[in-house]
């Protein structure tokens, strides 16, 4: 999780690549112990990424950049470390969203960040915010497909679900979404659109 320290502009610009580097190391570690050839490593790396990209990672981010809901959606079996890496990439993209969100009134911001085959698309709802002190809600998705329309529809429908959750006076805005119905519905939408 990347929270806490503030970064200067230079650092900020470097961060995505820094993140990428970290991820690279993560991926290389298990492979390098088995292989000595560098070219082989690269192939393995691509394979690795493709494997984990077959599942999309979806996240709703709220107050203080805390995820209030996340789901690994898709067909591939869950892989603990892949999920971890997905979240890593999504968190790195948060910074980009913060600036971008103020330059457009659109909610759907497609492909705001990428890492090799993986693309981060974001949907910023009306209740988003720049300042980390306040509640904001952003739906984030890490995916490998170019299916923009599907992704947009997915976001819009999840947005509607989120509004219904929010309208419940007994749900505290910014708290974790624990409803199992919500989870089921999001996964069903993912199957339909992604």
């Amino acid at each position: 999780m990347i929270t806490g320290p503030t970064f200067t502009t230079a650092e900020f610009l470097l961060r995505p690549s820094f993140t990428a580097l970290c991820l690279l190391c993560e991926l290389l570690r298990p492979v390098s112990s088995a292989n000595s050839s560098r070219s082989l490593l690269v192939i393995e790396l691509n394979l690795g990424i493709r494997k984990m990209a077959s599942t999309a990672c979806f996240m709703i981010v709220s107050r203080n950049d805390i995820p209030i809901y996340e789901a690994e959606v898709g067909t591939a079996p869950k892989k603990e470390d892949a999920a971890h890496q997905h979240q890593f990439i999504l968190h790195a993209a948060l910074d980009i969203v913060q600036d971008l969100a103020w330059t457009t009134s659109a909610m759907f911001l497609k492909s705001i960040d990428r890492f090799n085959d993986l693309v981060v698309s974001v949907y910023v709802t009306a209740g988003h915010i720049l300042n980390m002190l306040y509640i904001h809600t952003r739906l984030m998705l890490l995916h490998d497909s170019r299916n923009d329309d599907g992704i947009k529809s997915f976001f819009q429908e999840v947005h509607e679900l989120y509004i219904k959750i929010l309208l419940n006076p007994l749900y505290l805005p910014g708290s974790r979404i624990t409803s199992s119905h919500f989870d089921t519905k999001v996964r069903a939408l993912a199957r339909k659109y992604l």
Partner: protein, 294 residues
């Protein structure tokens, strides 16, 4: 047991479609409920400030939800990213849905950044009723094109068909421009007298005009929540409008425009009941961001 209920059974709330916002309840049902809210909170506090804070909190919870709902339903999922946009959203969309009418907003100015040149122009806007935002937008657009980097927002007050006051802030100086359309000779004495009286009033009010350029006001002759509440003498300046102020703050803050929002009574001469003014004071960061967005 017989089942005659017409409520459609949904396996859970997420299946239920979002409402179109057309459903209504009687005003008195709301009035009764609201007065219980006030009375209950009175039992929980020992001073007016605390009571207003609690009402504001209750309003905030409404505002935070209404923002997300209305942006989705009324604005086709467009977010507001600019100060005037979100203010317009509050006083038109939110006001209309919640209170059944939109509201003319009087605008405070925003301080000007850096050096600027002043351009004075005159434009014919016909009736200004409900158009102050549009006018400000036009003015702002023109100014931005000249005063590179810096910009002006102005206070616009339309007093009546003949009188209008504009406040400009240029490089730290405040300019008050009063535009008057004097009655021609053929009109009644009565009309003329009114005109001069109004003009006097404008001149007076300008002097006590706000010096805080980050403040905006929504003024309401009779705020819904104040209509059915009479305040006992011992409660002083207590204003139930704190609840509405809370709604406004909930909308603004959640949309990324943190502000301090308060409700005040403003006495109106010759009238028994005072007006309520919702005063919005934006946080510095909001104004700073506005400046960088240009």
């Amino acid at each position: 047991m017989i089942n005659v209920g017409k409520i459609k059974q949904y396996s859970n709330v997420l299946e239920r479609p979002l409402s179109k916002g057309k459903q209504e309840v009687s005003l008195s049902a709301f009035a009764f409920l609201f007065s219980e809210l006030v009375q209950y909170n009175q039992t929980q506090v020992d001073n007016i400030t605390e009571l207003e804070r609690r009402l504001e909190d209750a309003g905030y919870a409404v505002g935070a939800r209404i923002l997300e709902l209305l942006c989705h339903r009324e604005k086709g999922n467009r977010r507001e990213t600019r100060l005037l946009g979100i203010l317009s959203f509050v006083h038109s969309t939110v006001w209309k849905v919640l209170f059944g009418k939109s509201k003319v907003l009087s605008l405070g100015g925003v301080g000007c950044m850096g050096t600027s040149r002043l351009r004075v122009g005159s434009c014919n806007v016909g009736s200004l009723m409900g158009k102050s935002i549009e006018l400000v937008k036009i003015l702002q657009k023109r100014k931005v094109s000249i005063a590179l980097g810096g910009y002006l927002v102005v206070e616009v007050r339309s007093v009546n068909d003949r009188l209008m006051a504009i406040k400009l802030v240029v490089g730290g100086l405040t300019f008050n421009v009063v535009n008057a359309y004097a009655p021609h000779a053929g009109l009644d004495e009565e009309v003329k007298r009114h005109f001069w009286e109004d003009l006097d009033e404008v001149a007076d009010s300008l002097e006590k005009g706000t010096e805080h350029e980050d403040e905006y006001m929504i003024s309401e002759k009779e705020l819904l929540v104040n209509r059915f509440i009479s305040i006992p003498k011992d409660m002083g300046a207590f204003n139930c409008g704190a609840f509405v102020a809370g709604i406004v703050r909930g909308v603004l803050e959640n949309a990324g425009f943190p502000a301090v929002v308060t409700a005040h009574f403003v006495p109106v001469e010759g009238q028994h009941r005072p007006r309520t003014t919702i005063l919005i004071k934006f946080a510095e960061e909001v104004l700073r961001r506005e400046a960088t967005l240009g």
